[in-house]
Subunit: 337 residues, 4 copies
């Protein structure tokens, strides 16, 4: 960490700052320039409060030079984390595909989709029971009933299931869910992250609409610092000025995250753009850019979907896409099962 | 609402769509152009699912022409909502000032600040007990103890108190809190909004970092649709490409929100930029742009603050700022008490 | 186009507006709702000024329902535009690769790179003579001399050349340049676009840092409306809140642009992120998402480059990348030569 | 400047880097930590190429700690630059108001507006002759004729005039223009900036839609480094995700720029939002946040304006606004004339 001092900072205040930092176990390197004087802090600075330093009247600015995350940092854990459930896995050369409808609507609907995506090659079934909708007047999901239907579909298809939690008050309903999803809007619901850090299920952590890559890793760090290290990161589009697509898929985040962390990284091309015809090209882009998996919305009748129909593809389109994904995964030396 | 049909949409499918929309009580206006055919939907379209329409293969696009919010809409409630507590109020010509430290650190600290901001003219005391911090290694707030200290300061100063809730699990601790704050990161924590819609306390709803003005109003609508209409909206800066300030204060949002909604609108210039020296000019800008109040971080020793010291001003700076605020509020025909 | 009228708009003013619009050759469809009345404008609205309509006191808003671009619109020109020069081509199933250094530094440097990228499979040589640099104190390019060196390298390698124009005052220097590049910062330099619309060389038009996909197409429309229809569009990253990469590559723009326009679309993964190690994965993502080509910075000694070394790959890395690009182009049924 | 080295960087390469930096006149401070080793560069680093350093295989990152601009930097020129023309001035306690129509449409129109805004208290007349429009099918300005009409209005009203240059090819037409405006889209048209740096007229430099505050100052530096130090900076809204307003006025930029530079800073509230009713509150916010002036679009019949009518206010509204501006300028100890 670097502290840039203000021009003309009083010597005694500087000495007292250096002294207090040294007392906290850091080694301080002092560099005086013509216009700028800097202090280099050597040692473990993850507990140093940059805000507090920046508030001092002798300080012009503070810059971190090392990453503020540890447990998620590949520098300290070079091997890929691999998350395996049933026949599917994410990370370490394994490519997992999660597919299913945005919302669970009925027993028949979810079972039908489950059987079809399984046949096409998906390893995991997704379906929303609790739905975060911008409007209170939109369909909010079947809630408890939805979870029950999803469990039926798990039994019928044999596919492990992934579904989103929106409140810790619903936690008990997730007992037989295989992967708990934290949605983009809850990526910085820190109280929830801490609690999920105590459970023994893998967490699918979606990047917030305006969260940086570093903030995504810090949210993973919240879960990991409570004990749970089974985390799958998911890029699902960020909010930008562009309005032609719902969000902007940050494809660069994939190879960058793979460099920064050992956790598996997957892509949700459905939410990223909100346009069904863009899902196949973006899913393919995800595979070749280094992703460890995909999460895709599939609905038998998109135009009748109770939510996000515009971004859902049909089972037939999904089956066709899976052939491309499969061919590309092979080129990338990734195993689909 | 407008539905734009694809070129060459099959007549029978169009007729069937028109028929089903009419059955739901809407009147449909059909306009056929050379390249574009549009359907105008007349009536209450707030329950119409635009996603579902957009997913139909004959539909090219769907555009709303009326606002999706009702309870918060000034068109249907022309008079300002006024929220009064103790000697302070927001809206309807009343200008309320909330001040206090980012975090509650000790009984002495919070009581000292409370007395000073009261003396300078604040009507409400703020202080964080539960702190949303990006890093799990940063100070997380004194939690239960913090709430207790804040209640002591309320008693000592007579000022009503405002503090942030981060989980419904802590709700019971807020029994004597006067205004419950929903932070930017929880603006779309819809399960929490629904529950807070059932309580009888005013809610201070902060705009999310990447939430549009319409989404802010839709989140207010969540609370209002559960019964609680006492909502104060707070602009606190949005996330943009600019890195010289922590966030970008969207000052235009103030006069725009005042036009769109009857709810009071306040500004938090401290979080908006993260730089103490910018707080006074932005606070003044808020007053003259039509805001109904301010929320300002004040700390007796910013450089020793356990959180966000860089954006806190001292009690002396706050007292000086309040003189300017007071003069400008008078010009704007707003009452401070 | 849709005009949304204000509540309580005076009947006579509305009639007079309808009358004047009809006089300009449009058919007007009038839909009166309980809270909202809308006018649907049927016919060619590309000459209608939305700003002027929006300024009327009876108008609440104006929304376009058809695209404002014509010449670039795929709806009116379904076949792909193909641009062929030498052995390379863009569009219509042809995939073109442009490679070379950010800046031309010497005769030896540019000839060496030219021979190497040709050998690795590039069809075009790039090199900057005029460099847009944020700082006036940074290297500004070799200018006239740079163009002369690039022409030498064209002769030596036989590769057609691409280079950026920064001012019409330099136009004569571009007589033997094969493709003229308009950089991101000049995408809305409309006076320059109009002039380039009069020349007979293909124009490589890069998307502005904060330009929407529609604005990019409108800038192409400027060139086309002056007569030149040989345009290659280039996605090179947009500016967002994310700071981990220099820009955010908008990969969704590729399949979307291919749907909206018949013009070829290429990707510049080097400028998109500014990080050399991300160039290969993003280049591959571009191929499978439907791009018609790539533009890649290659430098023999990145660390000694006079500009943008951090994003340049070496000739060896480029050769290796071309093998992957070649394999993926085949899967996508694209011809490299 | 700080260079962060990669873990395990070879000692000999580090020594050779340190040696070459020292040879260029810098003093190097070496700090070796457990995980991170940093080099502090002491001295004038404005000529150091960060890209080149970042491209070295032993370097993980490079961070500037001092501003890259010198001529515009308040650290080296503490006194305000004051720009005076006629009865108006910007900076050093002077508040200048520029008003007039977006586009010049006729002799009568521009003279009528000129007389009215002068009467209301404006010190400068604006009017666009060359108009940057997104669409080639929109009105492009009266060009040469427009400049001639503006000069007539200057003669008639006695007001100095401000108008935008879109190409150096038109430079001769600007001989009698008092302040030359560089529009947002040309803020990084570096070839134009260099040429304008050689002229003896004040330049009104508008911030680009997605340009950072530092980039705005670097563009000013381009002009200043060519000799012209008479620059007025103009904040006119930046592009963000918010679509309720055309752009987002970055009000924080005003006090921040005043701290960073000695150049005068003004605000254009008309382009910032594109909504006439928001112009007065934002103009007032500009005054109290420390701006040195305003630039406001005034049109006698906004609904008949050939460009940007939706954001223009009438002469009567302008006169009323000037009363508020005048009162606030007095409170801020600024002189209007």
């Amino acid at each position: 960490m670097i502290i840039i001092l203000k021009q003309g900072a009083q010597k005694d205040k500087v000495h007292s700052l250096v002294h207090s930092l040294e007392e906290s176990g850091l080694h301080i390197n002092y560099s005086e320039g013509s216009h700028t004087t800097i202090l280099g802090l050597i040692g473990d600075t993850s507990a140093v409060d940059t805000d507090q330093l920046a508030a001092m009247d002798i300080v012009e600015g503070v810059k971190r030079v090392s990453e503020p995350y540890k447990a998620a940092n590949r520098k300290f854990h070079t091997d890929d984390t691999v998350i395996r459930i049933g026949r599917g896995a994410f990370g370490g050369g394994h490519f997992g595909v999660i597919a299913g409808p945005c919302s669970i609507e009925s027993n028949e609907q979810i079972i039908e989709v489950a059987m079809k995506v399984k046949e096409a090659g998906a390893s995991f079934l997704r379906g929303g029971a609790f739905k975060p909708r911008t409007s209170p007047y939109s369909f909010q999901g079947l809630r408890d009933d939805g979870i029950r239907m999803l469990l039926e579909a798990k039994k019928a298809s044999g596919l492990p299931i992934v579904t989103e939690i929106m409140s810790l008050a619903h936690y008990d309903l997730f007992a037989d869910v295989d992967i708990i999803q934290v949605g983009a809007r809850n990526m910085q619901n820190f109280e929830m992250l801490k609690e999920l850090g105590k459970c023994d299920k893998p967490i699918l952590l979606k990047r917030g609409l305006s969260s940086t890559i570093e903030e995504l890793l810090m949210s993973a760090e919240y879960i990991m610092s409570s004990g749970n290290t089974q985390i799958i990161l998911c890029e699902r589009g960020i909010r930008t000025f562009e309005t032609a697509t719902r969000n902007t898929l940050d494809i660069s985040a994939i190879p960058l995250l793979k460099k920064l962390t050992h956790l598996p990284v997957i892509v949700d091309p459905s939410h990223a753009t909100g346009i069904a015809s863009l899902v196949p090209p973006l899913a393919k882009a995800a595979v070749v850019s280094g992703a460890d998996g995909l999460m895709i919305e599939v609905h038998s009748h998109p135009a009748a979907a109770l939510c996000d129909g515009a971004q859902s593809i049909t089972p037939a389109q999904f089956a066709s896409l899976m052939q491309s994904v499969s061919a590309l995964a092979e080129i990338e030396h990734k195993t689909l099962f």
